[in-house]
Structure formats: structure tokens, C-alpha cells
């Protein structure tokens, strides 16, 4: 039965969309998230065959589930190995594929509708990056979704530009490569015009831009209200730059203060994203002015013990991130990531990848061969 005709799916989506519609700062209804999470778990247990096998291996079913923290967590690695969907192949509407090197397996996250994903992405982006303006001029340092098929970031930025960008928004990437001259021209145009600019891109694209500007000794003073959203890691495409140094370089070369720089954390396997709260605070909006990631009302996040995803670490301790994301209605809601994090009160700080211990000598490289 396709998603369009399945009343259960329509009802679930309606409830999730209603929750998202109240926004990141909207009122929370007691028990709403837990009820939805249980119902989604039941739906996915019934319709997602590989996920059901994991649940059976854990001895957890909708009938035996006690707490939502016990919902079996699916490793994001599994998205590289299985088609994790609750609908038949004919129901696929959109697919995100993770980046990777040639020959590496890639995660594939297939959606039967973009409605949930779009609602969540706009709600969070607006709240944390553009809480003060309906539209702003954007400069995107990332290819379009058409040029980077399967890229969830490409999809997100395309849609942000369409709905929240001014018509004169621009892209600083040509044929998948950073167009330094074109980007500089856009930055200088914004400086001349005096209209605030949002520059969005990956960390490695900013490193490339800043290195190029340093070579030319170029600096631009972007107008007040300008801001930066950076995301992702370096993925071997540039040298790694500590965050403080990156933000310092952005401040120096682009004139955007660190408080107006927002880090976005997301992944191919998950429909929702997380942002820093610093920009909201800098604009005088309610919220906590820090870089602790806090889940939106339609997500629960825990920092858990690496050996036991049902055990949350104590406050201040480190572990691995687990998310329960209602936007993943069509795949798997409960995800066990490969990201190390520190629990900070009701949020977390991402520390990097939980890549395993250093392996020396003639034993196997963790991320490469020796796949069993």
C-alpha cells in the first residue's frame, strides 16, 4: 500500500507535522513525543524488515517496550548495507546518499515524501539562522542538488535558497568546485550594497575560500547582520582547522563575528538537523547563547555508552550519540550514530567520530578493509 493511500501513514505524518509546525520554540505537550515515538516504533517494527530483525535480536517489540529509551537503535552503518524503508520501492519519492570515496559503501536514506523533511528543515533553519528575517541574500558554497545528486546538504540549501533567500542570492560553486573569483565578487557586492548576507557551506569549503583570500590578502567587511552557517567535517578534502581558528579566520576575512557563525550538525541518515544557539542570542532572541546542540521538539538525543545504547552517560561524560527522530517516519527513527559526544545538560557537544582505537602494526584498518 503506497504512502498516499495508507491511512496509518497519513495519520502519523499529520501528527508529526503538527508538532513541527509549533516550531523549535513552540509549546510542548506532555506525552506527545512519547506517544508518537511508540506509534512510530510499532509502525517500523511491522514494516521495516531488517529493522524488525534487530528488534527481535534485542528482544524488544511494541508489546514489550517499556521506555522509549529502549527502542532498539539502528546503527547508521546499516544504511550502507540494507534498504531501510517502511514502504514498497514504488513509493520512493526522494533518496539521500552519503558522500564517500570510490569503492566505499554509501548510506542510502530513501523517503516516500519530502513533507516531513522539508517541514523540519525550515523550522530549524529559520529558528537558528534566520530568526529575524523572512528572507536574506544567500551565498551558497555548495553545489545544487542537481549537481550533487543525493546530497542531503545540497537539497537543504536549494530549498533554503528558494524559500528563505532573496532573488539575488548566489552560488559560489561552479561545476562542483569553489569559484573563488565569483565568491569574492559576491562578497564585495554585499559589502557595497550594505544588505546582510548569509554565507553557507561546508567547513572544508570555508577553508578553501579563506586560504585563497589569504593568498590574495583579501578581506571583506560584510554588512551588519551578515552571518555564516558551516557544517560537516573536512573529510580529507582540506587541512583540518580547529573551530576557533576557523571562526577567527572568518571574522578576519569576512568581518563576521564568531557569535554570528552557526554550526549545523546533520547526517544523511537523519531527517532533522541541530544548530548552535549563538546567533539567536546575538540577535537578542530567546534561547541559550552557547554551542551546545539541543534537539528540536520532534527529536530526542542521548549520549550513550558505546557498548550499550540503552544506557545514557552521566552529565559531562562522553559517549556515542543516539537520536530518536520522528522525521524518519519512513525509515528508522532510532539511530545509533558513529559520533562521539559529550553530554551537556539537555544537549550535547559533538567531539568527532568514534572511529575505534588506533590500530598499529599489521592488523586491520578499521574503516577500510577486512569487511566481513
Amino acid at each position: 500500500m503506497s504512502a498516499e493511500r495508507d491511512p496509518e501513514v497519513l495519520a502519523l505524518d499529520a501528527r508529526i507535522l503538527a508538532l513541527i509546525a509549533r516550531g523549535e520554540g513552540g509549546p510542548r505537550v506532555d506525552g506527545e513525543f512519547e506517544g508518537l515515538a511508540r506509534d512510530l516504533f510499532g509502525h517500523q517494527y511491522q514494516h521495516n524488515v531488517p529493522y524488525r530483525r534487530l528488534c527481535d535480536a534485542d528482544g524488544v517489540s511494541p508489546d514489550t517496550l517499556r521506555r522509549i529509551e529502549d527502542i532498539p537503535a539502528c546503527p547508521t552503518e546499516a544504511f550502507k548495507r540494507y534498504e531501510l524503508v517502511t514502504f514498497p520501492p514504488t513509493g520512493a519519492a526522494l533518496a539521500f546518499v552519503s558522500s564517500g570515496t570510490t569503492g566505499e559503501a554509501r548510506s542510502r536514506h530513501v523517503l516516500d515524501t519530502s513533507a516531513l523533511y522539508d517541514a523540519a528543515l525550515f523550522a530549524s533553519y529559520r529558528h537558528f539562522v534566520q530568526p529575524d528575517r523572512d528572507r536574506l541574500r544567500l551565498l551558497l558554497l555548495f553545489p545544487t542538488f542537481a549537481d550533487a545528486p543525493g546530497s542531503s546538504l545540497g537539497y537543504m540549501l536549494d530549498h533554503v535558497r528558494a524559500r528563505l533567500g532573496t532573488p539575488d542570492s548566489a552560488r559560489g560553486v561552479v561545476v562542483g568546485r569553489l569559484d573563488v573569483d565569483g565568491t569574492l565578487a559576491e562578497l564585495r557586492r554585499a559589502a557595497r550594497d550594505g544588505a546582510p548576507l548569509v554565507v553557507l557551506g561546508t567547513a572544508f569549503s570555508f577553508v578553501h575560500l579563506l586560504d585563497a583570500m589569504a593568498e590574495r590578502d583579501a578581506r571583506v567587511a560584510l554588512p551588519p547582520g551578515s552571518r555564516v552557517m558551516e557544517t560537516g567535517g573536512y573529510k580529507g578534502r582540506s587541512r583540518e582547522v580547529p573551530r576557533d581558528a576557523l571562526y577567527g579566520a572568518i571574522a578576519t576575512r569576512l568581518g563576521v563575528a564568531p557569535a554570528m557563525i552557526v554550526n549545523e550538525y546533520g547526517m544523511t541518515e537523519m531527517g532533522s538537523q541541530f544548530y548552535d544557539g549563538t546567533l539567536r542570542a546575538a540577535l537578542g532572541c530567546p534561547g541559550r547563547p552557547d554551542r551546545v546542540k539541543r534537539p528540536p521538539p520532534w527529536v530526542r538525543s542521548w549520549v550513550v555508552e558505546p557498548s550499550d545504547p540503552t544506557r545514557e552517560v552521566s552529565d559531562g561524560a562522553t559517549g556515542v550519540l543516539k537520536h530518536l527522530d520522528l522525521v524518519n517516519r519512513g525509515s528508522v527513527c532510532c539511530l545509533l550514530t558513529g559520533d562521539r559526544a559529550r553530554r551537556v545538560g539537555d544537549g550535547f557537544e559533538v567531539l568527532g567520530r568514534a572511529a575505534g582505537a588506533e590500530l598499529r602494526g599489521c592488523s586491520l584498518a578499521l574503516e577500510r578493509l577486512g569487511r566481513l
Binding site: C74, G338, L369
Partner: protein, 464 residues
């Protein structure tokens, strides 16, 4: 008394301690109380010159080296020897391995250090061991040939399997050339301790040999060494080896030992034998060195159907639980635990998968008819897979672990063993042995399919 408590010793060996007496001492990360000398720049060039000069003045004799290694092996084989009583606690502390496991590993290493093993290795690799000292006959021809050991051999030792370090040391000593061995922080003391022991047995056999720890990639230390060495041996993952290769320039050669895994093949006829003993032997090859190292078992291929694989998986789980009692591990390090969890849960989603695991993740067995390829996490993690015929194993296009096989242990009747071994050889497997023997290779075994000493020497033919 362990080395760590002896203030006179640092994690270093040079033929004359006076050479490094005035060198600064630096702490070794992750090894509390242990320090190493800082030898960089001009001091490294000076040390290299001394090592080369020592060998040029008087090269160790082949017979003396073999005798000394044999004597060392006897001391290693004796649990009551002062050497064993010193090494075991230090190794257990440095590696985190259970003391009983360290003892079992040292006993296996001792078997490599016999005169018979040394002489066999030299004969297999050089034809005539005297080739290192002068021209010898080329078999089947009227010609002669001479082998030339490196002018300076630099060996970057692995840190996760002390046995590999001992093997590398023995092979280097057999060449009787100047050698610098870099210790890894995971095991900074074993090889220097063995060199001190050899010096006490016969100081001539360690002429021109130095071993100590320094931070990997430290250019001030490594650039002068790499510029001086004509052969460099490296152990590590692809990233480590690529970084090393990038810093070595012709004519210096790099011999690289990269990441590999080993497997056990259980033929259907093995079921008529003692399957419990078979499982126990497989568990030994899994648990030794906590599955670190290229000879550790990551996969068991069972000839038969899914039920056969599941039946063996269950027995193996029981055997690993017993091995855990004998050689306890406190579960994988926290950094590894996440990888073990992810691999286990991903494989559990495969159709027909069965999972057995220790509560603390000290070991994991997964049997599945057609499991997806997942990153190998280590930590005594084994996948048991069925194959209707072993021929399918070698031709499976999706199984890139097959192309990375170092060795296979075979449980099969003699009538079939040769055919299976031939297929394994065609697939690039370097070693085929009996079950339970994977972690006891001969000194001269062809790691990564390469000759043990042949890659380190050069030849001159005299076709007169």
C-alpha cells in the same frame, strides 16, 4: 623486578650506552614511568655513523647470531627465567593483555628463535647462508652470487602485537647489518629488553643495532634516519604506510606490511571429528593478542548450509567464553566498543543472523547466511559464514575480505587439503596451516606473500 622499576634502564638499546648518556630523556605517552632518549638531527646522523662503523669494523658472525638467538629463545621458553619474569608484567601492563595470554604469546615466539628455525630461514631465503659473506654457487648454473644486506636497515615496529616485533627483530639480526628499530608506544620496551639480553649472551651479535621509541612522524628524528637507510620496513595501516612511503626517496626501498585478516575454513568432513576441540582451537587463534594482528581470525567459513554455520557459531561462542576465562580481557577499549556495537547490530539485521556475545562485549560471534560487508571492529569479533562449496569463497565478488586474507587455517581431510590450499594460493593467501596454529608461524613465513629476508637483501651475480 620489572624493567620499569630499574632506574638504570630506559626503553632503549644501543651497543654502547655512553653514546646516548647525554641525550635528553622524554616520557613515552601511555607508558607511565617509561622514558626514551631524544636522538634527532645531527645526533641521529652521528648514531647511524657509529652503528655503520661498528659493523664495518667487525661484522657479527652468522653462527654467533644463530647461537645467541637460540639461547634467547630458550630463556623466553622458560617461564621461570629472569627474562620472562621481567618481561611478562611489563608486557601485560603495556599492552593490556592478560598475563596468561602474554605468557602464551611469548612461548610461541620462543619457538621461532631456535637454531633450527634460524638456519632454515637463512637456507630458504638465501640458498646458502654463506652468501651474505661471499660468492656462493647459483644452483644449476656455473655462476656464483653474493647477497648484500642493507647498509642501514630501518624497521618501524608494530605496537599492537609484540610477537610481530620479535619476529622483525630476529629477521633483522640474521642479516648482521646495521639496524635501527623504532619502537611503538604500545610496546616500547620489549625489543630493547631482548637486545639487552642478547648483549649479555654475546655482545658481538648486537653490534650495529639500536632500538628506541620516538613519536611517529617526528621529522627531526626520522628525516636523517630515512635519508641514511637504504631499506625501510614499515608496519601499519594504509594511512601510516602511505605517509612513510611518501617520505622515502629512491634508491631507498620500502617493505610495507599492511592490514590483513585471517580465516578458518571448516570442511564438512570436520563435523565427524571432535568439533568442540576444533572450536577451542579456533578460539585460541581468535583470542591470542586479542585479535590484533594479521594472523588473527576474523572469519570462519563453514562448508555447508546456514544451519551448519549456526551450529559451529554456537560452539565457537562457548569456546570463546572459555578462552575469556583463561585469557580475560576487560572488554574492548571504549574507543573500540562503539565499533563492536555498530558491527554487531548491523549484522544482526541480516536475514537468518544469530548473535552470541559476552555481556561486556569481550567477545562476539555472529553467524549469518549472507551477511553484508561491515568494517571489522576487532575485539574478538568473529563472523561465521556458510559456503555450499569452498570454491564460492574464492570467487565471491562482494567479499573483499577474501582479497585481504593473510592466512587460512584449514580443518579438512588430507585428501582435500591440497586442492583447498591451491585455491588459497591462487587467491593470494600467504600461509595455510592447521587450526590453532595460525599464531605460531615459522620465523621465515612469507608475511603478505613476500619473502622474509629476500625483500631486504640485494644480489650480485657473477656470471664468469
Amino acid at each position: 623486578m620489572s624493567l620499569a622499576s630499574d632506574p638504570a634502564l630506559t626503553c632503549a638499546f644501543v651497543p654502547d650506552p655512553a653514546w646516548i648518556a647525554d641525550r635528553p630523556r622524554v616520557p613515552i605517552p601511555g607508558a607511565p614511568g617509561l622514558v626514551a632518549p631524544r636522538i634527532e638531527g645531527a645526533a641521529m646522523f652521528d648514531l647511524v655513523a657509529r652503528l655503520v662503523g661498528q659493523v664495518a669494523a667487525r661484522r657479527p658472525s652468522g653462527a654467533a647470531v644463530v647461537r645467541a638467538l637460540d639461547a634467547l629463545g630458550q630463556r623466553l621458553a622458560d617461564p621461570a627465567s629472569p627474562l620472562r619474569r621481567r618481561l611478562e608484567p611489563d608486557l601485560a601492563s603495556a599492552t593490556g593483555l592478560a598475563p596468561a595470554l602474554v605468557a602464551a604469546g611469548l612461548e610461541r615466539c620462543a619457538r621461532q628463535l631456535t637454531a633450527a628455525e634460524c638456519e632454515r630461514t637463512l637456507a630458504l631465503e638465501l640458498g646458502d647462508p654463506a652468501a651474505l659473506d661471499g660468492f656462493v654457487a647459483v644452483p644449476g648454473t656455473p655462476w656464483r652470487r653474493q647477497a648484500r644486506a642493507p647498509e642501514l636497515l630501518a624497521v618501524f615496529l608494530p605496537g599492537n602485537v609484540f610477537a610481530a616485533g620479535i619476529t622483525a627483530l630476529a629477521r633483522a639480526l640474521l642479516l648482521r647489518c646495521p639496524v635501527v628499530l623504532k619502537m611503538a608506544s604500545g610496546d616500547p620496551a620489549t625489543v630493547p629488553a631482548l637486545l639487552h639480553e642478547l648483549a649479555a649472551i654475546d655482545p658481538t651479535v648486537v653490534r650495529g643495532v639500536a632500538a628506541w621509541w620516538w613519536p611517529g612522524g617526528d621529522a627531526a628524528v626520522e628525516e636523517p634516519l630515512l635519508a641514511s637507510a637504504d631499506v625501510v620496513v614499515g608496519h601499519g595501516d594504509d594511512t601510516t604506510l602511505a605517509a612513510l612511503q611518501a617520505r622515502v626517496h629512491p634508491p631507498t626501498r620500502v617493505v610495507a606490511y599492511g592490514p590483513r585478516v585471517s580465516a578458518v575454513l571448516i570442511a564438512r568432513e570436520a563435523w565427524s571429528g571432535d568439533v568442540e576441540a576444533l572450536a577451542a582451537a579456533v578460539a585460541t587463534d581468535v583470542a591470542l593478542y586479542d585479535q590484533a594482528g594479521c594472523l588473527s581470525v576474523g572469519v570462519v567459513a563453514v562448508e555447508g548450509d546456514a544451519a551448519a554455520a549456526e551450529a559451529f557459531g554456537e560452539r565457537l561462542a562457548g569456546a570463546l567464553a572459555e578462552a575469556q576465562a583463561r585469557w580475560p580481557t576487560g572488554g574492548p577499549a571504549r574507543e573500540l566498543a562503539a565499533a563492536v556495537t555498530a558491527a554487531r547490530r548491523t549484522l544482526a539485521m541480516s536475514e537468518g543472523a544469530r548473535v552470541w556475545a559476552a555481556p561486556d562485549q569481550a567477545w562476539t560471534v555472529v553467524s549469518a547466511p549472507a551477511p553484508p560487508a561491515v568494517p571489522f571492529p576487532g575485539g574478538r569479533f568473529v563472523v561465521v559464514r556458510p559456503f555450499a562449496e569452498f570454491s564460492q569463497l574464492w570467487t565471491s565478488a562482494v567479499d573483499d575480505w577474501v582479497t585481504q586474507l593473510q592466512a587460512v587455517a584449514l580443518a579438512a581431510p588430507p585428501a582435500r587439503a591440497e586442492g583447498i590450499a591451491r585455491d588459497a594460493a591462487r587467491a593470494g593467501v600467504a600461509r595455510v596451516c592447521g587450526v590453532g596454529q595460525l599464531q605460531a608461524p615459522s620465523l621465515g613465513w612469507p608475511q603478505d606473500g613476500r619473502p622474509a629476508l629476500g625483500d631486504l637483501v640485494s644480489w650480485t651475480w657473477w656470471e664468469a
